[in-house]
């Protein structure tokens, strides 16, 4: 148990430090990000039970968010941190708000809702302490990423989330839920848009690929972990048989018996090794989910571009109608034109009224097109900046993750050598 604790502690510190390092280097030409002004951490997790929305008893986990002003820390004062407890669902609410409010930003993902890519031993249960612990780390990582983002870190709702108990009312007041794009609209845009920005299409393709590779990797890794577990555990059987065998031996007995103990230790060592490797899996999962966020930004572009195209199309057709009415020349087929031909033209007053209406609509339409153009261009501009930022971050993070993975493998090899060397010494004493 104490070994477990020290491992968690060291990993916690490791992730803390690596997160901090990343965030302190964060590009922030828009001023200092929140994380520089405030120390944030998700310190603890606790089980709670209470009545849910349908008045049924449920058990859930809450996480303690602690914050402290950075300058106090820097000055060496050690004030007690402000703290509040939040559930996973509240983190989800915050993220959804950010997604809607900043559709041009690749919004950092949350740790997974349910345990996926598990290998057999790992509990898929949300209440499992290991799962809760890794989720705690993941939630902290999420907050740190958001708080160090040049745009997101300035959001007032984020601030409320971190410091105010009554944040939910505030976030609902923003009415963000109404602004959310309908899925159907977004999907329709994907299929019908004519001239999306090529770079965004490439980026969307990239996000698909990234998602595919990370999920393949996670699945393969889980299978490997499962098999490796089996290999190590079978060696434990040597421990038992050596012990039994040593009972009938004279000179060989001691050596065999102690070698057997080392075989037991070897078999047991796989548990910690694979637990540590879960953190590598978590890093991959973060980018699996990040790929989703990247795709969302590209989809938003498709949507804004599509809406612009629709608005432009609409404007053109209205202008054409106006021209027809004004000049009397029918260029395109229209029902009105047909009825005019059959039943005679309408009265001049009616025509005038319709021309006037069209002119108003055209004016509106031109405004709409202007708006949509600005919306589209702004989205493209801002999204492109953030996607570049994301790419740099991803390259750096994944590179470090791969290096850390290599470090873990080395550690595993060293342990293996140690165990077998111990056993060898015992064999030599046989």
């Amino acid at each position: 148990p104490s070994i477990h604790l020290s491992i968690y502690l060291s990993i916690y510190l490791m992730t803390q430090m690596s997160c901090r390092d990343l965030f302190s280097e964060a590009v922030n030409d828009t001023g200092s990000t929140l994380v520089r002004r405030m120390e944030i951490c998700v310190a603890e997790a606790e089980k709670r039970s209470g009545k849910n929305a349908v008045n049924m008893q449920e058990t859930f986990t809450v996480y303690l968010i602690e914050t402290r002003p950075m300058d106090a820390v820097a000055e060496g004062r050690n004030p007690a941190p402000d703290s509040l407890w939040r559930r996973y669902s509240e983190f989800e609410l915050l993220r959804n708000y950010l997604l809607v409010t900043y559709p041009y930003i690749v919004v950092p993902p949350l740790p997974e809702k349910r345990a996926e890519f598990v290998w057999h031993k790992l509990s898929a249960d949300n209440m499992d302490p290991d799962f809760v612990e890794r989720r705690r780390i993941g939630l902290e990582n999420f907050l740190l990423r958001v708080a160090s983002h040049p745009v997101l870190s300035n959001d007032k709702i984020l601030h409320h989330f971190l410091t105010e108990h009554g944040w939910k009312e505030v976030v609902y007041e923003t009415g963000f839920q109404a602004k959310a794009d309908s899925r159907i609209r977004a999907l329709s845009a994907t299929f019908r848009v004519r001239n999306p920005d090529k770079r965004f299409m490439e980026m969307k393709h990239y996000s698909d690929q990234l998602q595919s590779h990370t999920s393949q990797l996670l699945r393969a890794r889980a299978r490997v972990a499962d098999r490796l577990y089996g290999v190590y555990k079978v060696h434990g059987n040597y421990g038992r048989v050596f012990s039994e065998w040593s009972a009938i031996e004279k000179e060989m007995g001691d050596g065999l018996q102690s070698a057997g103990h080392h075989m037991d230790a070897y078999a047991a060592s796989i548990d910690d090794i694979l637990e540590e490797e879960e953190h590598y899996a978590d890093q991959l999962k973060e980018y699996l989910f990040y790929a989703e966020a990247l795709r969302a930004v590209c989809r938003k572009h498709e949507l804004t571009q599509f809406e612009l195209e629709m608005a432009s199309q609409d404007l053109i057709s209205k202008k054409q109608q106006h021209e027809e009415l004004a000049t009397g020349i029918v260029r395109t087929f229209s029902f009105k034109g047909m009825t005019n031909k059959l039943f005679g033209q309408e009265a001049p007053e009616q025509r005038e009224a319709r021309i006037k209406l069209l002119e108003e609509l055209i004016a509106e339409g031109e405004d709409t097109v202007k708006e949509k153009t600005v919306e589209c261009e702004e989205h493209v501009e801002r999204a492109w900046v953030d996607m570049q930022r994301f790419k740099e971050q991803k390259d750096k993070d994944l590179r470090e993750a791969l290096i850390n993975y290599a470090v873990m493998q080395i550690s595993m090899c060293k342990k293996g050598i140690q165990m077998w060397s111990n056993a060898k010494e015992c064999f030599l004493k046989m």
Partner: protein
């Protein structure tokens, strides 16, 4: 080399047991023997006479000559060697060759002998033998030396279609086992003087009908009437031997099963690991900055796969066969124990019968009964000595086997560790390279 009182080998002499000290009972004493075989009734062996008087080469010059010999290196490390100065029979099995004829295909092995013993006409021999010949030799030894533990041969039958009898690995494994078999016999103070061994090592064409006469003479006393005689009380030490062998056999079986299970698990792990490596490789094409680390990881995984394959091969080629050999050894030892029991039973039965007759007509103890008693006591003495010897060899064998297993595993991890460490160096170099180019 100490010159002690002349001692005879109990099993080949007619002396009463009380006068004989078994040469093997003092295991540390080096043996140097001159042998007069061939019709000598008093086949007493004298211990301690320096060899130079009767053999073509003196011990010391033999030693010197052999120092230059490559074979000596291997034998020096041989756990069966008593001490190099006193061994005068060196046997090696090597050079497997395939023979293809219209009737059959088989492998022959070169059996090389170097010796200073007088029973051998020449100091060196080189003959070619196939498995059948080894099998013949073993049968002959079992029949002519029923009181001794005869080392086992590798398994005779292999399922055609399941195992390739001509694959390099199979032949290599079998050859090592045959080599061990001969070495154990050559190092045995009694078995190494067996005429069948001599024939095996020297005859150009092994006439396998040789020794038939010997077989029928000795066979009688050994080919035992089942259900004829019943054993009254087995001496405790032989009971202990039987129990030990039973338990030991069980443990061997368990270890074999565990080793096979490990091989299976490792093989499945290897399959997944290979797949895992290809996922990294396929990702490379998508990235630019991450290309190197991804390729690097894929490369390391491939290296680990290779190392794992080697480990598996080693275990199945070097570890499992030795275990199986010992299972066969245990089986043949249990047979010898049974024969000992039978021999004791016969003696007891005859003794009882003779005592009854003696009470009736006051005739002296018949010679057969005395002969039986001698037989039993010789058997017991031989067996005890061989047992000690076997225990000692077994300890060496398993020490070597298990240490070897540990070494192979250590080696495997070392290979993997080296691969990952060089990746880190590579990536960190690149990192500093990039940093300096950025600041420039």
């Amino acid at each position: 080399m100490s010159v002690g009182t002349p001692r005879g080998l109990a099993s080949s002499g007619q002396k009463p047991i009380a006068e004989i000290l078994h040469p093997l009972s003092a295991a540390e004493e080096p043996l140097s023997v001159t042998v007069n075989l061939g019709g000598d009734k008093e086949a007493g062996l004298t211990n301690g006479t320096p060899v130079e008087t009767s053999s073509p080469a003196s011990t010391s010059s033999l030693f010197n000559r052999l120092q230059l010999d490559d074979d000596l290196e291997a034998d020096v490390r041989d756990p069966y060697a008593e001490t190099t100065e006193t061994r005068d029979l060196f046997v090696t099995v090597s050079d497997p060759k395939k023979h293809v004829s219209t009737m059959e295909t088989y492998i022959t092995y070169r059996v090389s002998t170097k010796t200073t013993r007088v029973e051998f006409d020449l100091p060196e021999y080189c003959v070619w033998r196939r498995y059948q010949d080894f099998d013949w030799l073993r049968t002959k030894l079992e029949d002519s030396q029923p009181t001794h533990l005869i080392p086992p041969l590798p398994e005779k039958f292999v399922m055609k279609g399941v195992v390739d009898r001509f694959s390099e690995e199979f032949v290599e494994t079998r050859m090592k086992a045959l080599d061990k078999f001969l070495k154990r016999i050559a190092d045995h103070p009694v078995l190494s003087f067996n005429p069948h061994l001599n024939a095996f090592l020297t005859a150009k064409d092994l006439n396998k009908r040789q020794g038939l006469a010997l077989l029928t003479k000795v066979g009688e006393s050994v080919k035992y009437v089942a259900g004829g005689y019943k054993l009254r009380a087995r001496p405790a030490e032989f009971c202990a031997m039987g129990e030990y062998l039973d338990t030991f056999n069980q443990k061997l079986g368990t270890i074999d099963r565990i080793a096979q299970r490990i091989l299976k698990e490792q093989s499945e792990y290897l399959t997944e690991l290979r797949e895992y490596g290809t996922v990294y490789s396929s990702w490379v094409g998508l990235e630019d900055e991450l290309r190197r680390p991804l390729e690097g990881v894929a490369g390391c995984v491939t290296t680990c796969c290779g190392a794992l394959e080697d480990l598996g091969e080693n275990m199945s080629q070097d570890f499992l066969p030795v275990l199986r050999e010992y299972v066969l050894y245990v089986e043949s030892m249990k047979n010898v124990l049974r024969k000992r029991d039978q021999s004791q039973a016969e003696y007891e039965a005859r003794l009882e019968a003779a005592i009854l007759r003696k009470q009736e007509d006051r005739s002296p103890m018949p010679v057969e009964v005395e002969k039986c008693q001698d037989k039993v006591e010789c058997f017991n003495a031989d067996l005890k000595a061989d047992w000690e010897r076997w225990q000692s060899n077994k300890r060496q064998d398993f020490k070597q086997l298990l240490t070897g297993m540990a070494d192979k595993n250590i080696n495997h991890y070392e290979k993997c560790q080296a691969a990952w460490e060089s990746l880190i160096t590579l990536l960190q170099d690149k990192q500093t390279e990039d940093k300096t180019s950025e600041t420039n």
